[in-house]
């Protein structure tokens, strides 16, 4: 439990690996194209180092994902409206979903890599539990939804609409432009929340 501080070279290498993995996942066509050996080589590091630092492939991807996600998390937890806590529930739900969607659009390959890490459910992650808890809490505060006991499922369902492979499919296969997907999600969410449909343009976070 003393949580001793890591050695200098270890910290440097860890950062190098994350950076290398980031660029590799960004450039690649499909997450499987990026092997652990590739990442090690790109980081100028041995494979052992990489596994020592992150445990396994899933651990590395998770760490990278969390790192990238950090700014969004911060914005949600203590940022200004419309993402921050001062926003009224309904608008904040919409803002949050849009933020998650945009994140997945911007980090398509990384999110894909994370979600399709075969042996490990994408739902068993810290950040998913976090999003779900926040979303559920907001839904409970929306009139007409609270107390029905289905806010839990609703939160899951809304997040499911931002799944990385769905996003990848809509953009890559179907060629849908970014804003069309955002508008689709926004209207879908608004509808399930009982808000009237106001499809006005959305500002980028």
């Amino acid at each position: 439990m003393p949580e001793r501080t890591p050695r200098k070279d270890a910290a440097r290498n860890r950062a190098a690996v994350l950076a290398a993995a980031d660029t590799l996942f960004t450039r690649c066509e499909h997450p499987d194209d990026v092997t652990m050996a590739d990442i090690a080589a790109a980081a100028g590091v041995g494979k052992g180092t990489l596994f020592r630092a992150f445990g396994d492939r899933t651990g590395l991807i998770r760490a990278l994902y969390e790192t990238r996600l950090e700014p969004v998390r911060e914005n949600v937890e203590q940022g200004p409206p419309p993402l921050g806590p001062a926003t009224p529930p309904l608008q904040r739900v919409l803002a949050l979903l849009d933020a998650v969607l945009c994140f997945k659009l911007d980090n398509r390959h990384l999110a894909l890599a994370l979600e399709q890490t075969g042996s490990d459910s994408p739902y068993r992650t810290e950040h998913y539990e976090r999003w779900h808890a926040v979303l559920r809490g907001l839904l409970d505060r929306i009139p007409g939804l609270s107390g029905t006991g289905v806010t839990d499922f609703t939160a899951h369902a809304l997040l499911a609409a931002t799944r990385a492979d769905l996003v990848a499919y809509l953009t890559t296969e179907k060629g849908l432009p970014r804003d069309e997907i955002r508008a689709g999600l926004a209207e879908f969410a608004a509808r399930t929340l009982g808000a009237d449909t106001t499809p006005g343009p959305v500002a980028e976070g």
Copy 2:
């Protein structure tokens, strides 16, 4: 294009492999536990036969999935209400979603295996396109939704709420009972469709 009929032993082996794979996937804890060699052994067949018949692992899983799904498809396309075509759109959407959900509950491991076939998007399948097309067609006929141009996304989003890994997570990790999930999905769907919430009990198909 002549599509010559397969040899008798080939047909027999194909059936044996499908049957073996079915029981193995049903029994297993996680889809990855079932290897191609396992399936071949259980079917009393060489690995070569298996790959000759189905191309690759994905092909085998897809074939098995489609086979299992066939009755549901038939019911939707030409069965009696509430799944069949005679049902008014809104109710039929609900019935269809419930049918898909029940299918995934009943074939959890198989659906999981299919959806997490790494290198191949679960959206690029015949049956997904089919469900989506049907659903979208129904949504277009529901007053208050048609013409908005978002029925396409809505159909995707509704189907996303039935994703196999979400279902697996809710049942296995969260321990939610079957009917609670069905009720959750039903209410969620009803809400997005603008129907008032009538959480009455649902009959099993």
